[in-house]
């Protein structure tokens, strides 16, 4: 390990570069690789005698860059996956998204309660497992050449819905977790109040955009960039004052600014920053994880992975049917929205700041890694899964028919 901050930072970026390069070669998202490298070369890495893999540590500067990375990541997500983009198909997306997210959320809550039996853990568990990773899924869609398919519009629409859901849920959850010590009902109510405030802020985004347009109509690139960055930090700070995680503040700012005329310019400016520091965020999440703890959570993680896949296939299929997609297209939808990523990591990080250290972070890491392995396999075989499902369905109805005939024969 290097004491010198620049050397440490240099090494961190060598690992990020390695992950990004490999991911690019494999045509897959870099998120799971970054977490993995963080685990195996961070401060908790194995080290025996001369073979010491503890190469990088989470210094103060890395911590700061990782926080900035989370802010850029969520700000960018808010800009890209905003409600304004899907206004034309609003009703369909509302329908599909609420079925998909609703079912997944209930599954998360239910299993969280079964495994932990306490409210905060249950809420964190639901937060980690409900929302899928748009970064991984958009990469997957591009890789499988499905971007032009009709059902892709619904898949990306569900991503938008999840984004808005997460802005609301994060603002509720962080208030709740950070204030746990106080009386349950008052915390619950104040968190609910914050969530309702956020909801109306999102509803009023269009109206706000008139003022924001004026504020941001700056020709100079320098002034514009600095102002936008200051706005992100301000949003993070204000969120903190309201006892909401700064990540939710940045996400919310992104969602609001997406309605302005400057959304495209903001995306162009902040995409490289997200690329740079988002990597630090995922790597340092991995670095904070002690892989020895995997043993304790592996059972839950594996069960949760299977539950997520099964639940997702069902929820995806139902929401696809509700939106008018049939057959293979519905199977594509169900098999594609499987991967979890950035939001799971954000929620696990939030749990850590609330003092819930030890279980949630290794669980989230293992869960994201397992689903990252499973999701491309499932998405690629959507057609086969569909034919198999149809085959079994026909078999099942065949058996029913035989049973029916048999019963009829007896009478």
């Amino acid at each position: 390990m290097f004491e010198d901050p620049v050397a440490n930072l240099g090494l961190v970026f060598i690992f990020i570069g390695l992950a990004v390069l490999t991911a690019n070669k494999l045509k897959f998202s870099s998120i799971p690789l970054l977490i993995l490298l963080g685990i195996f070369f961070g401060p908790h890495a194995p080290g025996y005698g001369w073979l010491d893999l503890r190469l990088i540590n989470v210094s103060e500067s890395i911590e700061l860059l990782s926080r900035l990375g989370a802010l850029f990541l969520l700000f960018h997500l808010g800009l890209e996956f905003s409600a304004g983009k899907v206004v034309e198909n609003g009703v369909i997306i509302l329908k599909g998204g609420s079925i998909y997210v609703g079912l997944n959320f209930i599954r998360g809550l239910a299993l969280g309660w079964v495994f932990f039996g306490s409210v905060p853990e249950m809420l964190v568990m639901a937060g980690i497992t409900t929302v899928s990773s748009s970064a991984i899924i958009t990469r997957l869609l591009m890789e499988l050449k499905r971007t032009a398919n009709p059902e892709t519009e619904l898949i990306l629409g569900i991503m938008v819905f999840e984004d808005i859901f997460m802005a609301l849920y994060l603002s509720f959850l962080s208030g709740y977790l950070l204030f746990q010590k106080a009386a349950f009902s008052s915390v619950f109510l104040s968190s609910l109040a914050v969530m309702i405030f956020v909801f109306f802020l999102l509803l009023g985004a269009r109206r706000l955009s008139v003022y924001l347009n004026r504020l941001l109509s700056i020709h100079s690139g320098e002034v514009f960039t600095v102002l936008a960055f200051a706005l992100i930090l301000l949003a993070a700070f204000l969120a903190d004052v309201l006892h909401v995680t700064e990540a939710a503040g940045a996400l919310l700012l992104g969602l609001v600014l997406a309605e302005t005329l400057h959304a495209k310019r903001l995306i162009q400016i902040f995409a490289p920053l997200r690329d740079l520091f988002g990597g630090v965020f995922f790597l340092s999440f991995g670095m904070n994880i002690d892989y020895h703890q995997f043993a304790a959570v592996s059972g839950i993680a594996v069960m949760m992975t299977f539950a997520t896949i099964a639940g997702n296939l069902l929820a995806g299929y139902l929401s696809a049917r509700a939106c008018g997609y049939r057959g293979p297209a519905a199977a594509n939808i169900a098999c594609t929205i499987i991967a979890r990523g950035e939001f799971s990591v954000v929620v696990a990080g939030l749990a850590a700041t609330a003092g819930m250290v030890g279980i949630m972070q290794p669980f989230a890491a293992l869960y994201v890694l397992l689903l990252a392995l499973a999701s491309p396999v499932l998405a690629k075989r959507a057609r086969k899964i569909y034919t198999a499902a149809v085959y079994f369905w026909n078999k099942l109805s065949g058996i029913k028919q035989i049973l029916g005939n048999f019963n009829a024969g007896k009478e």
Binding site: E80, V86, S134, K145, A148, N149, E153, L156, M159
Partner: protein, 169 residues
């Protein structure tokens, strides 16, 4: 005209779906990163039969080839191009039309009609291209048989079409 359906793909870019006369579908995805992908869906299929990827530069070149910047087939009269509000039209000047013998400046095309003449193509009797005046000045006089390439809003171009192609009585 075929129907073009536009859809936003959040996080990726934009999608344009064109229903072709053959009832196949051509889908163009323009990624925010700059490259384009073209997909061909045979009629009734929900999975693309094939696709290819073009860089930003290549797609601009291909776009101008398809748009006829280098070579245009015959039968230009009926060709119309609609890009949102913009309409580009190839009009053949009729022998007895109102504009015959008048110059662009005299008619005040830009001011009075909201139409800009991009080019004038003169053909000889065999339909072969004789001369092309690109961006002609205000002194240019319209003569029967010329093909006027003009651009403007849909309504304006239609009104201009009236006085170029209809015989005055």
């Amino acid at each position: 005209m075929s129907l073009i359906k536009e859809a936003e793909l959040p996080g990726l870019g934009k999608k344009y779906q064109i229903e072709l006369e053959s009832s196949d579908r051509l889908v163009v995805v323009i990624y925010d990163e700059g490259h384009r992908e073209l997909y061909h869906f045979p009629s009734g299929e929900s999975e693309p039969a094939f696709s290819f990827t073009l860089t930003d530069q290549e797609s601009r070149q291909v776009g101008s080839v398809i748009g006829g910047a280098f070579y245009q087939p015959r039968m230009l009269e009926k060709l119309e191009l609609a890009i949102a509000e913009l309409r580009i039209e190839w009009l053949k000047v009729a022998p007895g039309a109102k504009v015959v013998g008048k110059s662009i400046g005299e008619l005040g095309l830009r001011k009075n009609h909201g139409v800009t003449v991009i080019a004038i193509i003169e053909e000889d009797s065999k339909g072969k291209k004789k001369a092309t005046a690109i961006n002609p000045g205000p002194g240019f006089v319209f003569l029967p048989g010329q093909v006027v390439v003009c651009a403007g809003k849909l309504g304006n171009v239609e009104r201009f079409q009236e006085i170029v192609t209809r015989e005055e009585d």
